[in-house]
């Protein structure tokens, strides 16, 4: 096996981690707006908030398909086991996302049922977020695997820890959504978003602290990684970096610097993500299957890596262009079609 082929699993682990992180920070803000939906005050505010994400939500959600599809493409064993193990929360997530997704179109098509689709947008966003957090918590605890098969039960993912990660993700998405609203809106909605942003920041950092304290005790392996050299550097430095990012968000959200707040929110997610990576790597199904064991052949990984190298930069370019086209504050009269 040549040198390059040896690193294919690592390259792909990085690409998939990037896809999932991109999903989280992009769909995260529009899910956060969905969670805030009933609390936005007026009908007009709700419409405006929804319109600010309507042109881009579909692209945001495609990163979720990229995460799942990518896993199947290069780590098929992990894809099968993870989806099998987390069957219940994944089905719940998919059904909730279905409610949320159609609400964008259906809400404007009816007067009588508009309240219902508002609730669907809110409920779908909230439950999908809770489910995603529970999926993360359930995965971290390590599904029971025998050979190449998941052998646990359908509710193994339920725990205090996964409840905590579920709530943490709600707080984190609301934090991103608030920053987005500060970028995209003005007046009452803008003031509201600034207040909610501060509260959700504190909640997010609190949950991260709790989860960080709990994670090393989930599994002896994690404990070793976090409190032995060189992991201990991580355990020492990351809280500081999180404080810096949190401070950046706090000051930015209090002034009209939504973009800085949003970027600080992304930094918080990236730091958490790296912490997750430190806990799990080189496992992809925690504590049972490594990325190398789950890897498909080099021929498959190499074949699709060519496509990723060509298309991911193009995707990022036209995605950025689409955001650019719809830049600026969303006015009430905009985004009709």
């Amino acid at each position: 096996m040549s040198g390059f082929a040896h690193y294919l699993p690592d390259i792909w682990a990085a690409i998939i981690a990037f896809a999932i992180l991109t999903y989280v920070v992009l769909d995260g803000f529009d899910l956060g707006i969905g969670i805030l939906f009933p609390f936005l005050g007026s009908e007009e505010n709700r419409t405006r908030a929804m319109n600010s994400v309507a042109p881009v939500w579909d692209g945001n959600e495609t990163w979720l398909v990229m995460g799942g599809g990518g896993l199947l493409a290069v780590f098929p064993l992990a894809y099968g086991i993870i989806l099998n193990a987390l069957y219940v929360p994944i089905i719940i997530m998919l059904l909730s996302l279905a409610f949320r997704g159609v609400a964008f179109e259906f809400r404007g098509k009816t007067r009588r049922w508009q309240k219902l689709w508002d609730k669907a947008f809110f409920g779908g966003s909230l439950i999908a977020t809770l489910a995603q957090g529970a999926i993360l918590g359930g995965l971290l605890r390590g599904p029971e695997v025998t050979g190449r098969t998941f052998t646990g039960g359908p509710f193994d993912w339920v725990s205090w820890f996964s409840l905590g990660t579920a709530l943490a993700l709600v707080a984190g998405y609301v934090m991103l959504g608030s920053a987005w609203l500060v970028i995209k809106t003005s007046h009452g909605l803008y003031d509201l978003a600034r207040r909610v942003g501060q509260v959700s920041l504190i909640a997010t950092l609190g949950f991260i602290a709790l989860a960080s304290l709990a994670t090393p005790f989930l599994h002896p392996e994690y404990y070793h990684r976090w409190f032995q050299w060189p992991g201990v550097i991580w355990s020492a430095v990351v809280p500081l970096l999180l404080m810096v990012a949190g401070f950046g968000y706090w000051t930015a959200i209090r002034s009209d610097r939504g973009v800085v707040a949003y970027l600080s929110g992304i930094a918080i997610f990236i730091l958490c993500f790296m912490g997750l990576g430190l806990s799990i790597f080189p496992y992809i199904v925690p504590a049972s299957i490594t990325i190398r064991e789950a890897s498909t052949t080099a021929m498959s990984q190499g074949f699709i890596l060519v496509g990723a190298a060509i298309f991911l930069p193009i995707i990022l370019a036209y995605t950025a262009y689409a955001y650019w086209v719809f830049r600026g504050k969303t006015s009430e009269h905009e985004h009709h079609y």
Binding site: V74, P76, G80, V88, A98, F106, F303, E332, H333, H336
Partner: protein, 472 residues
């Protein structure tokens, strides 16, 4: 056996079948509508006629609703393989995974990235970029169909692979994997089905407005376009379907036996127009048969050999009854569509296309026919390849996840209830949009409307309140 004794395997299959059958109609409609919108936008740019803009704006709303339902059911599909068929994902993943990865990277992102501009961006970008966005959305839908049909075709007619020591299918030649023997037939057949289905819907909406007397210039134009499209597409589809059948005979003879309703392999086989398969006695009852026709169609010779299902071991037979009937419904509908096309063509030639009459009623009746034909064709091909997921190599029973019976039941019920509600509501909104017709779909330029309330504004009852509110 009570309903709760259904094996988990069958619950997993039922869920997959339900979810994919519900999904397939949306991309099929999106493929057709996206291409149609691209043609309308191009015609508008070339001719400068406002009528094309009005038709475009009308179908754009419908496209948006259909696409939204396609997205949410499609996100489900990307996880469905691992949820219910974890072992299939593990074993076949090295071959089909990269193809689906390419679908995401070349098609899904393309559609999603340019959809926003297409729906909301007409006044924000120049007309060339707008045309480009519309084209990319249409191109994305076709690319998506290409990749997913490549996956499906590989599962039906696997090629270009080897097995490794943990029992995984490993790619040997990507060209052979992607362009496996049945892909060209399946791709052409599916894209034609999408175009034909969309043309039938457009014709149906046009017919409705002719019957109601609300056919303005835009309705007449789109009606003519749709009837011409059916006239051209339906006969080509019959030819393409026939070619696909020959390919199936070569690679999946058991499926052909089930489609044809033959139990015994024979030369000079008759074409069974109608009958009732009787699997326990291994014969087809109440046959109405055209002598030699089956051999003639499938082998182009009167005494060609046609396979019978009885020649296959019992555990390798697809369920004949389902395949036999779904295939006949699909073919029957196909010929009905061709007849409608010819009828409409004749009326067009006699310059009587716009006089309300029986033709319009028939066009209305067959408006949803394409969807039915697609689902029937889908059933034919998918039930017909049972008991395999990878034809001849890997069975459905080997593919299934380690599922709890209760979770499988709950998921199945969840999908049925949620989909019925969401897509039922969506269909209702679509029908209401269609009933309003393009006369209410004013060109968006220079008509500021309330944000997000465009569709609201389209509802005639709401127009005044919407506009008043917008000025408050």
């Amino acid at each position: 056996m009570s309903i709760f004794d259904i094996p988990t395997l069958d619950l997993a299959r039922a869920q997959f079948a339900f979810v994919v059958s519900a999904h397939i109609v949306f991309p099929a409609f999106s493929i057709g509508t996206a291409s149609y919108l691209m043609v309308l936008e191009a015609l508008r740019m070339i001719t400068g006629k406002e009528v094309f803009l009005r038709i475009f704006e009308f179908w754009k709303h419908i496209f948006a609703v259909v696409f939204g339902m396609g997205v949410v059911s499609g996100v489900v599909m990307s996880y469905e393989f691992g949820l219910n068929f974890a072992h299939f994902s593990d074993k076949a993943g090295p071959v089909i995974g990269p193809l689906m990865g390419y679908e995401v990277m070349t098609a899904f992102f393309l559609e999603a990235g340019f959809l926003g501009i297409m729906l909301f961006g007409r006044n924000r970008v120049n007309k060339w970029i707008y045309m480009f966005a519309v084209t990319m959305v249409a191109f994305g839908t076709l690319l998506s169909a290409f990749w997913i049909l490549s996956v499906n075709s590989w599962m039906q007619t696997p090629a270009g692979f080897a097995m490794n020591d943990v029992g995984q299918f490993i790619p040997k030649d990507w060209w052979e994997v992607i362009f496996n023997p049945s892909l060209p037939y399946r791709f052409v057949h599916m894209v034609l089905a999408a175009y034909l289905t969309t043309a039938l819907v457009v014709a149906g909406v046009g017919a409705w407005h002719h019957i109601k007397g609300t056919a303005d210039d835009a309705v007449r134009t789109m009606f003519r376009m749709a009837v011409a499209m059916i006239l051209v597409t339906a006969p080509i589809q019959i030819f393409a379907g026939d070619q696909h059948g020959l390919n199936t005979l070569e690679h999946q003879p058991a499926k052909i036996a089930a489609m044809e309703g033959h139990w015994e392999t024979s030369k000079g086989a008759g074409l069974i127009l109608f009958g009732i398969p009787n699997p326990s006695q291994e014969r087809t009852d109440y046959k109405i048969e055209v002598p030699y026709a089956s051999s003639l169609i499938l082998t182009h010779s009167l005494d060609g050999e046609v396979p019978g299902l009885g020649d296959f071991p019992a555990n390798e037979r697809p369920p004949m009854t389902i395949v036999f009937f779904t295939f006949r419904i699909m073919v029957g509908l196909g010929f009905a569509f061709a007849a409608i096309g010819l009828w409409g063509g004749w009326l067009m030639w006699r310059k009587r296309l716009h006089e309300p009459g029986l033709f319009h009623k028939m066009a209305l009746v067959f408006a949803p026919g394409g969807f039915l034909a697609i689902i029937m064709g889908w059933f034919t091909t998918e039930f017909g390849r049972q008991p395999y997921t990878v034809y001849g190599h890997f069975t459905t029973a080997e593919s299934v996840s380690n599922l709890s019976h209760g979770a499988a039941w709950a998921a199945l019920i969840g999908f049925v209830v949620v989909y019925a509600f969401l897509f039922g509501s969506g269909t209702f909104y679509l029908l209401r949009l269609m009933r309003r017709g393009p006369e209410s779909a004013e060109p968006v330029e220079n008509t500021p409307q309330r944000a997000g309330g465009v569709a609201g504004a389209m509802l005639a009852n709401d127009v005044t309140t919407e506009k008043e509110e917008a000025h408050v």
